[in-house]
Amino acid sequence: MSALGAFLAGLVFGLGLILSGMTDPGKVIGFLDLTGNWDPSLAFVMGGAVQVGFLAFAIARRRTRNFLGGAMRVPDRRDIDARLVGGSAVFGIGWGLAGFCPGPALVSFGSGQDKAAVFVAAMLLGMLVYTIAERTRRTSAAA
């Protein structure tokens, strides 16, 4: 049941990304190109998503269990550290270079684009590098 819910959520998320124009890297770069020929569309994507999301998280905040009876696992960290800022900056550079962020890249990969496949493979490699680096760091800290 929860897997079906997650599948439908992923599907609706993907449909939203396609309809909104997020799967067109040119459109994303057009939004980031403030001093050039600026395409403000992405601000409307964020606005629409946050309007609905705000209501959803207001409901979620008041619940201790989800509607299927499972646990709520919403993050609760509030600290702002160098990893958050540095990581987000590195992500932003990659986003600006290609015009892809993780969701639209996966959807574009699903539509069979070879360029998206290269991006997704490199993204997974980047995540794997982090996983290995973290494991090494923890092991050496424990020793």
């Binding site: 959520a9 395409d39 403000p40 499972g70 992500f91 932003g92 600006g96 015009g99 490199a122």
Partner: protein, 140 residues
């Protein structure tokens, strides 16, 4: 600054954004999870028992979305070459891991819950993306 009226799509972008918000609502209310794509995918690289199915199902939904929406044609403009895409992918993968989120987890869900971490992260990756595009335009 001038507005690119040719490509500006306020209504479909707003409607698409609301669908993204609806998807985030479904995932948090049915699964108790934040719809952060980088986190969902990253969690598959360190699989834990009982924590794999919903991640695979969500990613599966993303992957079949183009087939479900085949009637709506998108002509993606992918200007970046393969080498740039590979570099960008590496930066996005590592950056979102260290920064604990991307456009969906921090940008959509985090701002919706007014998380201070997500507000900072979103401001940083937006500015970094804008600076990158600006510098790229100067070089090109």
């Amino acid at each position: 600054m001038s507005v690119d009226w040719t490509h500006f799509t306020p209504w479909t972008s707003l409607a698409g954004g609301m669908l993204i918000g609806l998807a985030a609502a479904m995932l948090v209310l049915l699964n108790g999870r934040v719809a952060g794509i980088s986190g969902i995918v990253g969690g598959l690289l360190v699989p834990r028992r009982g924590d794999i199915g919903w991640r695979l199902a969500f990613v599966g939904g993303l992957l079949v979305a183009p087939a479900a929406m085949a009637f709506y044609s998108v002509n993606p403009r992918i200007d970046a070459g393969f080498a740039t895409l590979a570099l960008a992918g590496l930066l996005v993968g590592a950056g979102t891991s260290y920064g604990s989120g991307c456009t969906s987890g921090h940008g959509v869900c985090g701002i919706s819950r007014l998380s201070p971490r997500s507000l900072v992260a979103t401001a940083v990756f937006m500015l970094a993306g804008m600076a990158t595009v600006f510098l790229w335009r100067q070089l090109a």
